[in-house]
């Protein structure tokens, strides 16, 4: 269900003025040079390293001497490495599982919390507390609480593959659901009440209203939240490093962890750079898709036509 908003005469006029204004003169417009410091800074500390990662992926380097060119060796190794295949699969599964868990809980909580009763405000404030701890602190907390001797569950949860995997998904959710709940709460607040009133008059029940109004109306919020979750799923590095160290065995070694181990544990920086380049390429592809999906690229005000 979509609601098309007709452009009001005032908006059309404004657009007209906008168009002529652009032409009328450059007075009052800043020079593009203003953007230069930011661009240079970002280029130096983010873009150059990406290019450098690609270069290093064609070298062998132990971090001490000079990188030695070795052609495609690292990339060939990457394709043949069973750990890489496992790690890639694991990263995808972890991202999907975390997305499903966090989206369902955050969406339901957010819509619920969008109501305006007093107890909801108090509960929402409590729900937010986990987000105030750093990922490191949260990982350490759960590491202690899952300790087989000390912890809440007196079992070696982190010692089994499924246990360790579920623990990472749960801990990630525990940390980030508050944030996404907030996003959904904001989104749900913006749904016009008229829609619900109309639906109520038509005799639609609560659940019908949820599926026919709330969910479709929240689709942009779902996109934004999903984007942030997918991009953020790589920050599970800390959680993995502290909770499981990639174990048991290599069962929770997601890509960033694999890269960290290759680089800073075995000092094979060339191979680590190949993994890193793969991550950059995958992330760039992902980001192109996201730009499409979210319409971030369109230079339009999100409030236009309101």
């Amino acid at each position: 269900m979509t609601v098309t908003v007709e452009k009001t005469p005032a908006a059309a006029q404004k657009e007209q003025a906008h168009r002529t204004g652009r032409r009328a003169g450059r007075t009052g417009r800043p020079h593009a040079v203003w953007a230069l410091p930011g661009v240079l800074f970002f280029t130096f500390f983010a873009v150059v390293p990406m290019a450098l990662a690609l270069y290093l992926s064609f070298t062998s380097w132990d971090g001490l001497g000079d990188p030695r060119p070795v052609g495609l060796d690292n990339w060939r190794k990457l394709l043949d490495d069973p750990r890489m295949t496992q790690s890639l699969w694991l990263t995808v599964v972890l991202t999907v599982a975390s997305w499903a868990f966090q989206t369902v809980v955050a969406l339901l909580l957010g819509v619920w919390a969008a109501g305006r009763q007093r107890n909801r405000a108090i509960l929402s404030a409590v729900f937010f507390v986990p987000f105030l701890l750093s990922s490191t602190a949260i990982a350490i907390l759960f590491y202690a609480l899952l300790d087989p001797n000390f912890g809440i569950i007196q079992k070696d949860t982190l010692g089994s593959q499924s246990g360790a995997f579920l623990a990472i998904v749960f801990v990630g959710g525990w940390q980030f659901i508050p944030f996404h709940t907030l996003i959904y709460q904001g989104g749900a607040r913006q749904i016009p009440e008229v829609l619900y009133q109309a639906a109520a008059i038509d005799g639609a029940g609560r659940y019908r209203q949820f599926f026919s109004i709330t969910l479709p109306q929240l689709r942009h919020t779902i996109t934004t939240s999903t984007v942030l979750m997918v991009v953020g799923s790589l920050t599970y590095f800390e959680t993995v490093l502290i909770l499981t160290k990639g174990g048991p065995g290599t069962d929770t070694a997601i890509l960033p962890y694999l890269m960290y181990e290759a680089g800073f544990k075995t000092y094979d920086f060339g191979y680590a750079s190949a993994i890193a380049s793969f991550l950059v390429i995958a992330a760039t592809g992902l980001s192109l898709v996201l730009v499409r999906l979210t319409g971030f690229g369109a230079m339009r005000s999100t409030r236009e036509g309101m």
């Binding site: 410091p37 930011g38 904001g186």
Partner: protein, 301 residues
């Protein structure tokens, strides 16, 4: 805690002539009717949130002698603050001040660089500013993890290894893409008419920036402040790889070190986690509305 935690949009209601025996607001919105299933769900999540926090607080107060035998869910029989003393005497203040320096510097750099950038991206339409904007758009998905190896090389060449700057500079760079997006999103909503009015008055771009753009972009700016401060506060990988000694150690890395330093003394480790949460919890209590409002706005519509 009051209603105002969660800003309520005014004006959306229309007057209706219902008698004032019950508050007319009560029945208006479907979310305001009691929904037992949703309420139960929210209660379950409350328990999931609170149990680990409770277990952490209770365990951190348990004497070291009982730590390995007790269940963390049991309240401590004779609570002690020993572990907190231990942590505070292990250089906790130093870690905290380092983290504060990193957070303030990162926020400062991000604002100083991103505000002019977003201003240019919104106000000029030439090829270059468009290209700059697209650069940051692509940067949004690039994980910092992917570039730590070359950054390590760069930091070493710049002779910054094992300094706070080695943490600050890359953290600020990787906080930039999201900040630029948020700011551009906010600045786009500033009406073109206002710009034209100021231009007609002969205001220079710099004056427009300070007198019009920045005041109107307060919401976006506070979101950016919160976002970049949280990123600095949370940062673990850059400190782990770019620093080594006690001097530039930040809080996250300090916590990680306490795990091996205190060994099986889990209550002491948990006390350090509690202490690490207190500063930001204090900020939350003071700036609750800005924090929650800023983050809530991220979703857009």
């Amino acid at each position: 805690m009051s209603h105002d935690t969660l800003a309520r949009p005014a004006k959306t209601r229309q007057p209706d002539g219902s008698p004032a025996t019950r508050s007319p607001r009560r029945r208006r919105h479907w979310t305001r009717r009691a929904n037992p299933v949703a309420g139960l769900g929210a209660f379950v999540w409350l328990v999931i949130v609170l149990i680990p926090i409770y277990a952490m607080l209770s365990a951190s107060l348990t004497g070291a002698d009982k730590a390995l035998t007790g269940n963390p869910l049991k309240p401590p029989t004779d609570p002690t603050l020993d572990h907190y003393n231990t942590v505070l005497n292990s250089g906790f203040g130093h870690l905290l001040s380092n983290t504060a320096i990193v957070a303030v510097s990162v926020v400062g750099i991000v604002l100083a660089l991103c505000i002019p950038l977003a201003y240019v991206a919104v106000r000029t339409r030439d090829r270059w500013s468009n290209a700059a904007f697209r650069l940051f758009l692509l940067g949004v998905a690039i994980p910092a993890q992917a570039v730590v190896v070359p950054l390590y090389l760069l930091i070493a060449k710049l002779d910054l290894y094992d300094t706070l700057l080695a943490v600050i500079l890359p953290t600020a760079a990787f906080a930039m893409p999201v900040s630029v997006l948020v700011l551009v999103g906010t600045l786009r909503d500033v009406s073109e008419d206002l710009y034209e009015a100021m231009a007609l008055d002969g205001a220079s771009p710099l004056r427009v920036l300070f007198q019009l753009t920045i005041p109107l972009a307060k919401g976006g700016i506070s979101t950016v402040v919160i976002f970049s401060a949280l990123q600095a506060w949370n940062g673990f990988l850059f400190p782990l790889i770019f620093t080594q000694s006690d001097g530039p150690r930040v809080l996250t890395l300090g916590l990680f070190n306490y795990v091996s330093q205190f060994g099986v003394n889990i209550p002491a480790v948990l006390a350090s986690v509690v202490l690490s949460g207190i500063p930001i919890f204090a900020v939350y209590l003071v700036a609750r509305r800005a924090l929650v409002g800023g983050l809530m706005g991220v979703g857009g519509k």
